[in-house]
Every structure is written in structure tokens, then in C-alpha cells.
Symmetry: C2
Subunit: 313 residues, 2 copies
């Protein structure tokens, strides 16, 4: 294994780039803007220029670089090709091949951003030391990354880990963003938590500090929960119950060693983790009750880490 | 790759043994009784004697045998060890290692019987040509085998593919065999189908040929369904809807290329497959609506085939 590797997490606004030692040490990270003009045709050139510039600055030779991993906000096939990526303005782009050519033949692997974030948490984050990991990202929606034997399960149609769209409640009246009804992310995301809070506040309810807040956010609900607020406890309990039930279904399919919980909502920390784990254990199939739970720890850097993990396989 | 391989599917009553060409051709199959006396201590000796006898009879040399795959009715770890197998009377047995020693060092791999059946259907059955396959076995219960990239997902606690215990209805009043309530197999197994039929017959219902049958079986329901019986159509519709919904959840986790439906209930054939596929497509996440469906074709030989597939990796 060579000494260095680069991780490049391409987002719609910026590309997060990390220079790593392949032992797992992040040497330096920085960002460059993502130029989505002209159907994003400059993105890979800009990435290559940034990497070459950093190598020159640090006097790193190509023969000391294991390779480059790159994460893309959309489906990526096993060869590292993208069919279409709306966020970057891309049609079909052979990401791995093109970037490798721009980097004089250096090894390049490409992956979906949610999946590389899961790999990052497995490599150096909340799932370190495990190889059967399910990463659960609780943000505006609910994302997932399924890792079996150290490899991402991308799925035959790019839907591996689309756990936010597990149907939890066929009787739900409101629609999910996907057009179906009763999806996990209608309850277990930041948006879902706020929706549950509004439902609770619109009915007769106990005294609550949430009544003082004009536009309740997910953070408000967790803050109130930590203060022992009764309505917040009811809302978080419902949130955790649905999420725990959802994860218990995942265990009946891939039975991971550990669930790693990340995303903005996971900033609620240990109280959230405890509530979800408790709900999970009540629901889980007997042999899966011992599945472990951890918080993600790499935050927005997870993708960068996971990109490097891609080239270590 | 050497010319021959053996597949040994060990059951509680008999061991099904197959001599295969490693190209996938079944040369000969036969059975020996499974001797569960004395905590099953003779089982592997008997298997070894049977294999050596067949090699002598066919004048097959050890150097022409790729190896032996063996399926066990219980959890088997990655090394081929069994911690306990109630059906065989076994405590801890190093199956792969022990059988290899009895066979003069021949390559032996061991796997769980449900998982090797899935591998068999992938190799030479309904899932031939695919490598991301979910095998669904509809028998007394509902079993599953999850294959990703040609490898079985056994799970960290042996619960990979325990799809019969996906919770489908948290409001179910009756208990599943696992002690929980609302599991997939309470609806989508032979037992589940009969239960749904009894429920339909106990309520006010349309004229039905099922009323003439003292103890309705799953086969009776499907026979009546094929004849256009209204009550049978209602029951099969409910069965298919729950199964389709269950499979749509699996697609949000591992997103296979194909579902292969086997087990006794699958003898109902194409009408069953069509009903399940229709229900699945109504429920599935958009990119997974195109997932393929096929009937299993190897029947009780699937395990033997899959055992051989184990040694081809």
C-alpha cells in the first residue's frame, strides 16, 4: 500500500477534498467550488488541477499515491460511470476513467455519495472495526448505506440502502416526496419529526415549551426532550418507535453487526440513540436484539474518508 | 477448475448427495439416511463413506474433484463451523474441517441449507445468469436467501434472509411462531394462506367451492383461484398483497435483480407469480418496479446444487 490517497466528495456547491495517509490519517482538507456551468464540464478538470496543485505544494510524487476516490451525488455503476447526475448538470460521464486520464493514469474509483459516507464511517468512524454496517443518515430525509463484508450494496437499480422509503404505515394519508405513502422518512427525518410535533401540538396536549416556539424545528424538539418536556417525549417516542421498527426490518434482510446513526438529527446524540435502540430491541427478531448502535463521528467528512476507503480494497 | 464436485444437503432424515460436473451438470444423485443417534456423531463419517464409495464406483480420482459443498439445517459460520444444530443432535462441529480430514484433505465448504438453496437457484435454477438474487421459499413458513454479488448474506447473527419475520402488521392479534406479531409468514406461507382462508370463510362470504372442503389446504385455495372462485381470489389477493409489500421492503434494502419464488406454495405456478409481481409493482419504490420475478425450478435439489456452487467461488 502506498503512503497517500485522495478523497474527493463532489457536492452541488463545493467539492470537499482530503489528502490522507492510507493508514487513515487525514493530512489536510480543503474545498473548491463545484462549477456546474456548461453542464458541469469543468468539474473533473478543476478537481485534477486541485490535486496536482496539492501534490506539487507538498512535493508528493505520483508513485507515492495509492489513488483517488471520488463521491458523486447520484447513482454510479460498478465501472465508475454516471448515467445522469442532475445536481452536477451531468449526462453520461465516465467519472473514474476520465479523472484517471486527467491524472496521468492514476487509480480512480467512483461511488455514490451516500454509500461512500457509509464506507467512511466504517473505515474511521462510528463503525470502525466492523464490516457489516448499516449507516442511517437522518437529515431532511432518511438515507442509508448498506455494507456487507466491507463492500457497499449499491443495488441492481441503484436503490440499495434506500431505507427512507421502507413503507412503515400503509394507512398514512399524506404523501412522501417519492409519491408513495407511509415511508420511513415521513416520520424519522428532521422533516418527519417536525411533522409529528405539529400533529401533537394541533391536538389537545400537555403543557409544553414547544408552544412558545413559532416554527418548531427538530432541534427544538430534542432540546425540549432533554429538558423532560412531556409533548417532546411523546413526539421523540413516536419518532424512535418508527425508526426502531424500520431498522428491525433491515435486520431481517441483511442482519448487520452495527447501525451507525448520522445526519443532522443525530446531533441530538446519546438520548436519541438510546431511544432508537430501545425501540429497535422491542421489535427485533430474537437473534438480532444484540445488534450494536453507534453515533456517526465524521460528520461532513465521512464522504471524503469513504472515497479513500474505495481505493484501499 | 476440476471436472467434478459433490453437493451434500444434510437434512434431519436423509442426506441428499449429488455428483456434479463443475459445469453445472448433475451426473447422479442419491440419498443416505441421516443417523442422528449419539448426537449425530456418525453423520460426517457416513457422508465420507458414501462419497468415497461413489468415487470408487465411478473410478473418479481425487485430483479430478474440485471439492465438496455441504449444507446444514442451521447456522454455519464463515469458517464452516456449526455452534449447535438441533436437527442433527450436534453441538459444536467443525463441519468443513472434519469432513475435509475424512476426505484426505479435499476442499470442503459448508453453508446453511436455506442459503445454499438460494445459491443453487442462482447457479442453475430460476435465477441463472443473475448475481443479485433474493430467493423466497414459501413453505410452512417463509424462508429467504439474500445473494449480493454472487455471495450469500448470512448476517452477523445468522439472521440474513430471515424475511419471514419482517413485521407486516403491527396490529396483528395472533402470534407468530417467533413470538412476535404480524410477521410476513403469518400471511404469506402455506399456513398463512390457510389462516386467511379460514378467516374469509368464517365471515359472510360469496358462494365458494372452498365451503365443500372440510380442511382447506393451500393447494385447495390455489386450485379454486384458478377456477375463478371469488373467495379464493380474495384470499390469494390478500396473500399476494402482503408478500408483494414485503418484497418491496427488501428492495429498499438490497435492491436485487430478481426474486426467485420457491417452496411448496410456489407449485401454484404462474398465477401466483403474476399476483405477487402485480402487488409488488404497486408498492415498490420507483426505480425498483422493474425488478424481475421467476419461479424456482430445482425443487428439493436446489440445496445440492448450491453446495457445489460454494466450492466454485
Amino acid at each position: 500500500m502506498k503512503k497517500y490517497g485522495f478523497g474527493v466528495d463532489v457536492g452541488g456547491t463545493t467539492c470537499k477534498i482530503g489528502l490522507f495517509e492510507t493508514t487513515g490519517v487525514l493530512v489536510e482538507k480543503w474545498e473548491i467550488p463545484t462549477d456546474v456551468s456548461d453542464n458541469g464540464k469543468n468539474i473533473l478538470d478543476n478537481v485534477a488541477a486541485a490535486l496536482k496543485g496539492k501534490m506539487a505544494e507538498k512535493q508528493i510524487q505520483a508513485q507515492d499515491v495509492q489513488g483517488i476516490g471520488i463521491g458523486i451525488p447520484g447513482p454510479v455503476d460498478a465501472k465508475g460511470d454516471v448515467a445522469v447526475c442532475v445536481n452536477l448538470g451531468w449526462g453520461h460521464v465516465c467519472v473514474a476513467k476520465d479523472l484517471s486520464e486527467k491524472m496521468d493514469g492514476m487509480l480512480v474509483k467512483a461511488g455514490n455519495d451516500a454509500n461512500v459516507a457509509a464506507l467512511g464511517e466504517m473505515w474511521q468512524g462510528g463503525g470502525k472495526g466492523y464490516e457489516d454496517v448499516v449507516m442511517v443518515t437522518l437529515g431532511t430525509g432518511v438515507g442509508g448505506g448498506i455494507i456487507v463484508g466491507g463492500k457497499v450494496v449499491a443495488g441492481a437499480h441503484g436503490a440499495g440502502g434506500e431505507i427512507g422509503h421502507l413503507t412503515m404505515n400503509p394507512h398514512e394519508a399524506e404523501s412522501c416526496g417519492c409519491g408513495r405513502k407511509g415511508c420511513l422518512e415521513q416520520y424519522a427525518s428532521a422533516t418527519g419529526l417536525v411533522r409529528l410535533a405539529k400533529q401533537a401540538l394541533s391536538k389537545e396536549h400537555a403543557a409544553t415549551m414547544l408552544d412558545q416556539i413559532p416554527e418548531v424545528t427538530a432541534k427544538d424538539v430534542f432540546d425540549a426532550y432533554k429538558e423532560g418536556d412531556a409533548v417532546a417525549a411523546e413526539v421523540v417516542g413516536k419518532f424512535a418507535a418508527v425508526l426502531g421498527r424500520g431498522l428491525s426490518k433491515i435486520s431481517c434482510v441483511v442482519d448487520p453487526q452495527i447501525y451507525v446513526i448520522g445526519g443532522g438529527v443525530s446531533k441530538a446524540g446519546q438520548p436519541l440513540l438510546d431511544a432508537v435502540k430501545k425501540a429497535y430491541q422491542e421489535e427485533a427478531f430474537s437473534s438480532c436484539k444484540v445488534t450494536e448502535f453507534a453515533l456517526a463521528i465524521l460528520g461532513n467528512d465521512a464522504g471524503m474518508y469513504g472515497c479513500v476507503q474505495l481505493i484501499l480494497e
